[in-house]
């Protein structure tokens, strides 16, 4: 890093000191960077270089020479991979599927979390502790394990749900058509409601109690206060959790990967963009195309985050 020695000067001479009045003067510059050195080195190795390398890879393509039996070589193809992705129907279908499904699932999940937070806000403290602990259990269970549990609950042979339905004389299948989405959505909702409930609860707790007094004097019922006073005052956290959830959904991978083992015909290898990238890289061995897809997904995620940021900032300020 070439800037290692110079900033010393800047730190002492800089007329702009408003952020840090009289820090450490001359020593500050390189000492500060020295403390950051382990992180910066690692950051270079695990963030900057990989993204750069993935980009350079994405500009290449694996070509087999001759009639396909000769050794393969990597040739430079410019942006060919990217233009191929732009017109790659299955990739974008996967993206759109994930986004639409994510939006619906997140709406349900946040709705339930909000309901639970409001219910907890209205009962005695002792009971709150009990319910909160119980509702948080799914959050504490590792994602892989909770996915495994639901894998069994959805399986036609070992599932107690199927068992109960059989006894009641009906049959339930968890995959195929809309059921696939409901099953996946249920799994993600189960994992997510406890955590989101905690966040929404925290921001409900932060609301000043006086806010409710006026409404109460006017004779408003509790549910009315919840809907007209509490909810409008916590839209900030709802938007924030919604945004993070949606960005997380774009990377949906583990859950559908596992569920594929119960329902390979319902969850295809290109069900979500990450599944497609994984399949492309490790099954097909097409690293260059997979690298390009990774970058496209990163850009889409970035755009989504940015749009969200702009929209919410405008709305909330």
């Amino acid at each position: 890093m070439s800037t290692l020695t110079r900033p010393a000067q800047a730190a002492t001479d800089s007329p702009v000191r408003r952020t840090s009045p009289r820090r450490t003067g001359r020593r500050g510059a390189y000492k500060g960077l020295l403390f950051m050195l382990p992180f910066l080195t690692g950051f270079l190795l695990t963030y900057v270089v990989p993204i750069g390398y993935a980009f350079s890879q994405s500009l290449h393509e694996k070509k087999s020479s001759g009639i396909g039996f000769g050794p393969t070589r990597i040739v430079f193809v410019g942006f060919a991979n990217f233009s191929a992705i732009l017109s790659d129907g299955t990739f974008w279908t996967g993206m759109l599927r994930t986004l639409l499904f994510g939006a619906a699932q997140i709406a349900v999940m946040l709705g339930i979390s909000l309901l639970l937070a409001l219910l907890l806000d209205g009962i005695a403290a002792r009971a709150v502790r009990f319910f909160r602990a119980g509702l948080l259990i799914p959050y504490v269970i590792p994602g892989v394990v909770s996915t495994l549990i639901w894998l069994f609950l959805y399986s036609p042979t070992a599932s107690p749900i199927v068992d109960i339905a059989d006894r009641a004389g009906t049959s339930i299948t968890f995959f195929g058509g809309l059921s696939t989405y409901l099953s996946l959505g249920n799994l993600l909702t189960w994992q997510g409601i406890g955590f989101n409930m905690i966040l929404i609860s925290a921001s409900l707790q932060a609301l000043p109690r006086e806010l409710y007094e006026a409404a109460r004097l006017d004779g408003a019922k509790e549910w009315r206060i919840a809907w007209s006073v509490k909810v409008p005052n916590i839209t900030g956290i709802l938007v924030l959790t919604g945004m993070f959830s949606l960005i997380g959904r774009l990377q949906l991978f583990t859950e559908p990967l596992f569920l594929r083992y119960v329902a390979p015909e319902s969850i295809s290898t290109d069900f979500t963009p990450m599944l497609e990238i994984f399949d492309r890289a490790f099954k097909t061995g097409d690293y260059q195309y997979a690298a390009a897809e990774s970058l496209v997904l990163a850009v889409v995620t970035g755009i989504l985050a940015f749009v969200f940021y702009r929209v919410t900032n405008r709305k909330l300020s």
Partner: protein, 288 residues
């Protein structure tokens, strides 16, 4: 949290209380039933798993299942648990140290580009780690690091969100005056960091460690890309390999279920031990 039943003031009607409690119980059951299923299923043998009701016990085969897990591939499951403990403790300890040092440097020293650097770090912390996994794999394969312990540990060490937390903690709990006093006493910057600053940010350090430990324990994605040899798997990846085998060869479902239960135990013990840091940890984690 608060001791005020915030509905308070106007006393809620009995019907409202019943409805509230009823709904909460429904969702409580929804939250708990699947975990209950795991607990029950772990005690069953292969036949009972399919033939008896899933939410209630039949003959207890828990010991047999433990034995079967232990016997499988020369105790590879024990190895997976060991690996998970190793990756989680070493990974989280390394990340905590790197983050605290970087956060301290960022908070307490003035240098050109500090603001920009902080911006980059905050931005990077928003980048989902899943997105980076494949590019990371490409680089690590290139330099021959895949399929080694370092392929998972190095990325765990580097946690931009941890640096962000480290900066916040250094900002709030290391007084600059104290550093000045130590300097006047002739202490070197490293000495000040190790014997003054690190002590003051201890609570923050534990929180970062806890968040990292849980994240690494639960991580599946990075090891899936990086590791090939069964014996280097963490328990999450090991369980996945059992699920895969269950499809092609023999029925391994009791192993998968009992193994899942066992894989939660160390995590539960860890979280119980660090209960105190839990709430702040959850709320901090939410920032991510």
């Amino acid at each position: 949290m608060s001791s005020i039943a915030s509905g308070g003031g106007a006393r809620p009607t009995r019907r409202a209380v019943a409805l509230t409690t009823g709904l909460l119980i429904v969702f409580l059951l929804y939250s708990l039933a699947p975990t209950w299923f795991l607990l029950v299923a772990s005690t069953k043998n292969q036949t009972d798993l399919y033939s008896t009701f899933g939410l209630w016990f039949s003959a207890n085969h828990l010991a047999d299942n433990f034995q079967a897990i232990w016997d499988y591939h020369d105790g590879v499951f024990g190895r997976w648990i060991f690996n998970s403990v190793l990756y989680s403790t070493v990974g989280a300890a390394g990340s905590t140290f790197v983050s605290l040092a970087a956060g301290y440097g960022l908070a307490k020293f003035d240098f050109r580009g500090r603001g920009a650097l902080f911006g980059v770090i905050v931005g990077a912390s928003l980048l989902p780690s899943t997105l980076l996994a494949f590019p990371l794999y490409l680089v690590f394969a290139k330099i021959g690091l895949t399929n080694t312990v370092w392929a998972v540990l190095i990325p765990y060490f580097i946690n931009p969100f941890g640096v962000y937390l480290g900066k916040v903690y250094a900002d709030t709990s290391v007084p600059t005056e104290l550093m000045e006093a130590a300097r006047i006493d002739g202490a070197s910057e490293t000495r000040i960091f190790f014997s003054v600053a690190l002590r003051l940010v201890r609570t923050g350090g534990v929180t970062i460690f806890m968040l990292d430990f849980v994240n690494i324990w639960n991580n599946f994605f990075l090891p899936l890309f990086m590791l090939n040899g069964e014996r280097s798997f963490p328990v999450t990846l090991g369980l996945f390999s059992w699920v895969q085998q269950a499809q092609t060869s023999r029925d391994m479902n009791t192993l998968v279920l009992t193994g899942s239960l066992l894989s939660i135990v160390p995590l539960a013990v860890f979280m119980f031990a660090l209960q105190k840091y839990w709430r702040s940890g959850i709320l901090m984690g939410s920032l991510k």
